[in-house]
Symmetry: D3
Subunit: 260 residues, 6 copies
Amino acid sequence: MSTRLLWINPAGIDSFNQPIEEYIESDKNSRIEVDVVSMPRGPHHLEYQYYCALAVPDILHRIKQAEKQGYDGAIIGGFYDLALREAREITTDFVVTAPAESCMHIATTLGDSFSIIVGRKRWIAVMEENVVKYGFRSRLASFKAIGIGVLDFQVDREKTLRKLLTAARQALEKDLADTIILGCTIEFGFFRELQKELRVPVIDPVLAPLKYAEFLIELKDRFRWTHSKALRYQTPSAKEIRDWDLANQYSFEKNLWESE
Amino acid sequence: MSTRLLWINPAGIDSFNQPIEEYIESDKNSRIEVDVVSMPRGPHHLEYQYYCALAVPDILHRIKQAEKQGYDGAIIGGFYDLALREAREITTDFVVTAPAESCMHIATTLGDSFSIIVGRKRWIAVMEENVVKYGFRSRLASFKAIGIGVLDFQVDREKTLRKLLTAARQALEKDLADTIILGCTIEFGFFRELQKELRVPVIDPVLAPLKYAEFLIELKDRFRWTHSKALRYQTPSAKEIRDWDLANQYSFEKNLWESE
Amino acid sequence: MSTRLLWINPAGIDSFNQPIEEYIESDKNSRIEVDVVSMPRGPHHLEYQYYCALAVPDILHRIKQAEKQGYDGAIIGGFYDLALREAREITTDFVVTAPAESCMHIATTLGDSFSIIVGRKRWIAVMEENVVKYGFRSRLASFKAIGIGVLDFQVDREKTLRKLLTAARQALEKDLADTIILGCTIEFGFFRELQKELRVPVIDPVLAPLKYAEFLIELKDRFRWTHSKALRYQTPSAKEIRDWDLANQYSFEKNLWESE
Amino acid sequence: MSTRLLWINPAGIDSFNQPIEEYIESDKNSRIEVDVVSMPRGPHHLEYQYYCALAVPDILHRIKQAEKQGYDGAIIGGFYDLALREAREITTDFVVTAPAESCMHIATTLGDSFSIIVGRKRWIAVMEENVVKYGFRSRLASFKAIGIGVLDFQVDREKTLRKLLTAARQALEKDLADTIILGCTIEFGFFRELQKELRVPVIDPVLAPLKYAEFLIELKDRFRWTHSKALRYQTPSAKEIRDWDLANQYSFEKNLWESE
Amino acid sequence: MSTRLLWINPAGIDSFNQPIEEYIESDKNSRIEVDVVSMPRGPHHLEYQYYCALAVPDILHRIKQAEKQGYDGAIIGGFYDLALREAREITTDFVVTAPAESCMHIATTLGDSFSIIVGRKRWIAVMEENVVKYGFRSRLASFKAIGIGVLDFQVDREKTLRKLLTAARQALEKDLADTIILGCTIEFGFFRELQKELRVPVIDPVLAPLKYAEFLIELKDRFRWTHSKALRYQTPSAKEIRDWDLANQYSFEKNLWESE
Amino acid sequence: MSTRLLWINPAGIDSFNQPIEEYIESDKNSRIEVDVVSMPRGPHHLEYQYYCALAVPDILHRIKQAEKQGYDGAIIGGFYDLALREAREITTDFVVTAPAESCMHIATTLGDSFSIIVGRKRWIAVMEENVVKYGFRSRLASFKAIGIGVLDFQVDREKTLRKLLTAARQALEKDLADTIILGCTIEFGFFRELQKELRVPVIDPVLAPLKYAEFLIELKDRFRWTHSKALRYQTPSAKEIRDWDLANQYSFEKNLWESE
């Protein structure tokens, strides 16, 4: 039986689904099928915490559904890694990855200290909290913001590339980073050119969580190493969810939590 | 014109509304009106991250509505401080407080190091992340779990009190805490007895955010010191929200974001 | 009975007493009386640790006297927060606040990261130790020094304002602060203009500890939440002080420690 | 062309070569060949820093040779991760992994905080330095020592298993770990029984670096993400090595550094 | 010309002067003269911050006097290291040491992690702040309190020794310290017996700052390495002190600050 | 009997032996004899971790030999402090020092925060790990690289001096260092001119570990304070070393480990 992954674009627009599906296609493990979906409703970008909060419940239900449908795991786009920890709570023997976590694990293995190039200064505070959570604060050289919003990264690729290059060079020379992370999912497709120019690893926020998911699936399938259910990721009780009638209240499918 | 605060019980049950309203009544500033509401839908307790995720959007819309209705601020119950930061993002000149943040600011002023007494071990990981975020990790003596769920704290008050007392004593003697924080909103109503017995400050998770809100309102009204809108708490654009038709999609009132 | 606070200018000059009394007047809680005093002897500014050391015993005795006189609390001026912790040790059911602690509690509630604008580079080392002690190191964006001594802040207000503005702008733009703290008591009276210009909260080092004292008095009066006497702030024994004849030796009033 | 990995037992005994080769056999990726070698000379265990120091040059030359022979990467056994960083310095487009680094990246993805179960207390100081280096100090719940030396882990498997189980249980209950790492390569072969009993992920120090190597090879082959050569891992110049006649001096093959 | 050091017992009793003078005698460098003095007034022990605050100005003036008298340096007793930093501020080309700083520099050179054995739990909070200031927090295994006050350490030597031994053993076995610091000056005279029994370095709080002072004098005399006057330790201006008439106000000798 | 120290130049060239011997001569304690040796084989500089790894075993055997020959201690040149911890493991009642550790202990005593001026950016990552290990991360103002390799520091002294001066000035003015450390052994001989110009302590990487060794010898001889053998520095067993025939395998003298 083949292995199936669900890539979730967490925003309520489908315009990046096909580009990401194609982008992934040639680089995914050939034994793995990846379906790309976006949310049927919701903000078009998630640059605000409010937008993230709106999006999270739908993402979680989509993931719960994917688990029921027999997917082996899901990748949640968006460099805030939103819903990542909640998703691990509600699933069992199911892999969930997200860009920031994956990129940082890879970057700290390949280099000594990394810089993250983001769109706007305003994103940094929340993202830095994730750096701290994951444990990599001492490995972070700097954040660099290039003044571009999520929806504009792919509009003028020349301009984006030029700005990424400038920011990365500063990070390498002034901040003594030796590895670059592209800190927005929609910064996909630039890493090869940057890498060639900069001659350091430039970690792509789409390919990193894809490969990290494949890696975690390998660990799960062979060794049953999956998210620990001992403390933080313990799953809520299906009975409570049924008793409280949450399916009706939040309009999700009744059977989503049934066989739990 | 009087000052009005909204206390939000973030769960989908109203059984704590009246007890908390009465509890607050005698201790609130007499010039301030406090209304207590709970959520019209949702989990009955928020001991899981999934439950929190479900509750947050409704809390945020309730807060946005309160801002429109002329409230001066809101207090969000629940020691995870859920929706606190998002609420600051979507409001302007409006005070928002929550138990953990308020209790820790007070405890670190009154003592050298504090212990937080929670219900279950499983809560600690997420709560400790907040301790780190707020900056108080070096002031934390310990977490203590007494093995009681949110909905049971008020069921057998004798038993709860006894367990709180035992845990607090250990914290003071072994972990060298000199201040105790009760780490669950539903641990309200015990602090006076504990304090008398232990002879150290025991910070109550209902009264602390109430008083902290009154304090912040004073700062706002006199000095216009309110949440900084420079970076993290910048408010999303009402135009985007309208253009994307979020009100329809998420069934909130159309005018919630209108005059922004 | 009314509530009384004592504002202590810790230097041996009285030239700031009236300005600070007037400055406070309109912004203090109307139910609270605030008396402003300075020290009868001592250095005219406290920019050196030696000067601080000279001033501390007199400040402590003045506070002990205030406690006897029925004051509810004291505010000690000076951004080094000198004598703050000692004052909590020698008093019981008495509020003590100081600028740095108060400003940082407020700033970390209102924003994500703060910068402190001080007079001279030389102050930073000692002040940063307080940032670490209070727990806020991870929330500090930067210190900025504008090259002005304590006694000169109010001499050429135009110049001071201009320099504060320049430093604050750099902090916001380069260091990603979203909140500004004015790091010297004598920087009072500038925050409103700065705030209007910068559009972020600018925390005033006189009003912050005043309001924080009012807040702590509220907590003390309602809940008996006062400085923990369990460990660090345990009060020395009046008997020892009498036996060793400290009153005579240090020329303080005999009855200062009597009814303890 | 097939992918080849070299497993290096860093001690000067070959008694673990066959057991590890067999242990790996069924769990390695089928497209990858893994050869297991030990050192032709050297201490029989590496429980002292002196022994490590003796072993490192030979390990590095073996790795350099492996790179020349067309291997894609090497795994260095031993939970001190000795020679790991030096090996990355001397190789290019070549993967190097080691147990501690691999186990911690996996454990911090699967759980909230991990405990490492080692043989002797004396190992902990050096190993904790690696925890800090890698960035995972805030995720470490505890070290536990079970009082068994490297060469004895496999002698009485019943006893070892019993002691591992006891230590792990304490870690989960008292230290609030939710994931266990077996902190010695020769603790291989116990994780399945432990995991079944404990119901949390128990990370095996042989399989973790094997899988991590496979993962890094995938990243290298597809995206050319390899150790950054910008700063720390820059390779020394072959010319210097030739000019100084190091091959003769240290008895390694002359051509080891030739085509560099 | 001989080298002269002043040992300052910071309390207002002279009962420890002779014992410490004798204790030092045989272990000081033979080319160095050490005079031991105590304060002419003040508390008999310094277990409270208030007592410390009273003592500091006299200590500083005594040190300033010593500098004038041609001493090469001073050692300030008391494990709080009180007045240490202020003393460096007011002196130039003059060595000042204190027990905690000296003991920790030595302990972190000789071992991996140290425990400090103090008299009372209440001391720990302030002492730990010094550990943090000096930079050694990550090297601290634990504090242990044995429940004895400063003035009682030498009363029943058998009992003190027994308690020190018990505490040290726990530190070595449970907290994984490998070095012990005796955390009170009046714990002098026990280290040899403890060391013999425990077989780890036990750092004595009288001999450590003595030897550290000799070491710093050597650095000063040969290389002119003395306290940096660039920032924190810059000396206040003699002119200001004269202008403000501080000598009269605080009853110190007029010429103390004259030739500065 | 006189005290003897061995200065070990860790590289395989003898060109710095005489200059360092002469440099030390006038500043060493007159009762101490210092012999300067370099390694009979090995890289000419140790700017790479691979070179360090090659050099370490020979250094350790040279130190073990020195211990047998009755030396009281050894100083290992090179600012990476290589072999320092291993050397403490294999020796007993024998002092070992190295430049980085010694310089930092001195610098943090003399000032508030230090900058380290190194040759190349590439060195910083490894050196910063030592700063963290020793505990001084919070005291580090900055690293500065002046773009000069080890072998070139003494070639054009004018140029080196000029570059050191520029870097140090930036450190003092921008990074708020108040003490400078010269971060390469071959930066010896510049500190006096720098110090005169900069008027802050400039710590010399040859004289610092020399004096620190003299200091540790004093502690060892008087108080038997030597490296703790409790945990990390426990010495391996001579029997194992004999049984495994390590002397033959690594061509060191058989009797090196004999009387242990």
